[in-house]
Amino acid sequence: MANNAAIKINKLKKWFPVRRGFLATAFSREQLFLRAVDEISFDIKIGEVFGLAGESGSGKTTTGRLLLKLIEPTSGEIYFKDQDITRLSENELKPLRRRMQIVFQDPYESLNPRMTIRDIVAEGLGIQKIVRSEEEIEEKVADILKDVELVPPEEFLLRYPHELSGGQRQRVAAARAFVLHPEFIVADEPVSMLDVSIRAEILNLMLNFVEKFKVSFLYITHDLALARHMCDRVAIMYLGKIMEMGVTERVVYEPLHPYTQALIAAVPVPDPTSKRTRLPVTGEIPSPVNPPPGCRFHTRCPVAEDICRQKEPAFIDVGKQHFVACHKVAG
């Protein structure tokens, strides 16, 4: 295994059992599963920004949570710095928690409204017993607040989340994650709730941490234009599967999978001289409870053939770290 991988997953799978009403279960024994994540594999290198992009319901958030073991995988393996963490217990995971952190999507929900900013940021320090004294806590919290540009820190320490704007709250969420100096961060749509004019500040702030501390960064987003500016490599997910993965510029400029091509064609361009190309793809993402057989995209694919409806395409290497799962590309 490559030594420079911070995190590596192999055939990771998460199926959620679907609860049904009494009659449905009485007449059918079959247990239905929502296949949120279905056998995906990738690795994230040290200091790399890895993007996971896709429509809602494609399984990107579930993947992020699985990597941090916030939920248990159905099968597959997760390695963190060459250590298999798939079957570790909560207790065994605790020391690792410090090294892997998450920033959630909605800063209006992810901060406890009854805690002060100081307590929110210091909570992890206390749990992980990183600090020896109260003074050290104060110092660390003040330092990190300066790093996320909540200055002067004294002004913010004793305030509550409702007193802050959305952008400031997301800075607090970032401070809470980064104060532990983690080696791996999952950021789940960290700016989608924020106004455009302040998005860049938050993202650049996170990128600074990535560069400074060589953090590995999983960036989950539905916004390919943003992913392109943020990420070194990107994986495109659809209904629990990775359709295409590679160096961001290659995936964006030479997308091989028809789904990636559609996704990129659909992104509006902030330039009136470049007109949108006609979309070949119709319809919306099907339910992950009974995903289509064969290639999951075949119901919407403009170039689908018989084989696509029957056989699931393999995830093949087309060279230069570029992978794609499509029969048409495989030839």
Partner: protein
């Protein structure tokens, strides 16, 4: 003569702490067959402009001044009974948030025909349903979807349903408030193409309200940029994207990542939009502007025409007072 001519519109919300000056002296025009994009951050007053034009401001909201000329008739002076003849028949709106704008307890078809029955007294229920089915086809839904409840429809279908509802009484002006937000990119692109198609087919005047400049670049002919209740720049989409004059517009365009062109770090505008209970004096953007001069703090810049081709901008720096 433009179809919609808003002159000096001022709308305030009265609250316990005083007036929120949500819209202040906004002027804009929309012509037949033309799409105007109204862009700005949340809280800049863009939705309030739409609600003022439709005269459906929530309690506490009041038009304090200005005119809204629709086909040369000032609709600010109309009473509620007269206004209900204009609303939906002459102009209609597609609301923000396709997920919540439909009533979950009624079938889609019934909700659309309700709009027809309310505004056209002579139409029978049967005829209204027939028209509803035609409308559903027009927006790319199967007519049998009329029988579905909102929860049986996907996000894109609901948005299409809302567009059908807005078109129910053949309006001349269609206002769309964030029509693509909350939809996935592919579905969003489908909905936007549909709106462009409808605009051509029905020769509609359209006003597209969004925070997403790239959507405007894609679908509109002209754009007005709003900041803190005022229009700061206004002109043809091509001119404004090629040469934005106002520092706020420049910042906003710089903040947009593009899927094309060179990869770069995205820039941002420091600071926060102001509290509209007490907007800043002078130019409302001056606390966040990188080029602020003394005059910006005291004098409110007027929206004046710069260069040829209807490019308007409200900035002291551009107007040459400070070169």
């Amino acid at each position: 003569m433009p179809m919609l001519d808003v002159q000096d519109l001022t709308t305030y919300y009265s609250t316990q702490r005083g007036f929120v000056k949500a819209v202040e002296g906004v002027s804009l025009q929309v012509d037949k067959g033309e799409a105007l994009g109204l862009a700005g951050e949340s809280g800049c007053g863009k939705t309030t402009v739409a609600l003022s034009i439709m005269r459906i401001l929530p309690t506490g909201g009041k038009i304090m001044g200005g005119k809204i000329l629709f086909n040369d008739k000032d609709i600010v002076t109309l009473n509620e009974k007269q206004m209900s003849k204009v609303r939906w028949k002459d102009m209609s709106i597609v609301f923000q948030g396709a997920m919540n704008a439909l009533n979950p307890l009624f079938r889609l078809g019934d909700q659309i025909s309700e709009a027809i029955l309310t505004h056209e007294a002579k139409v029978s229920k049967y005829k209204a349903m027939k028209r509803t089915k035609k409308l559903l086809e027009l927006v790319g839904l199967e007519p049998k979807r009329a029988k579905d409840y909102p929860h049986e429809l996907s996000g894109g279908m609901r948005q299409r349903g809302l567009i059908a509802m807005a078109l129910a009484c053949n309006p001349q002006l269609l206002i769309a408030d964030e029509p693509g937000t909350a939809l996935d990119v592919i579905v969003q692109a489908q909905v936007l193409s549909l709106m462009e198609e409808l605009k051509k087919k029905l020769n509609l005047a359209m006003m597209l309200i969004t925070h997403d400049l790239s959507i405007i670049a894609d679908t509109c002919e002209r754009v007005a940029i709003m900041y803190a209740g005022k229009i700061v720049e206004h002109g043809h989409v091509a001119d404004i994207f090629k040469e934005p004059l106002h520092p706020y517009t420049q910042g906003l365009i710089g903040a947009f990542p593009s899927i094309k062109g060179a990869r770069k770090r995205i820039s941002s505008i420091p600071g926060l939009p102001p509290d509209l209970l007490n907007p800043p004096s002078g130019c409302r953007f001056h606390p966040r502007c990188a080029y602020t001069k003394d005059v910006c703090k005291t004098d409110d810049p007027a929206l004046i025409e710069e260069s040829e081709g209807n490019h308007f901008v409200a900035c002291h720096l551009v107007s040459g007072k400070l070169a």
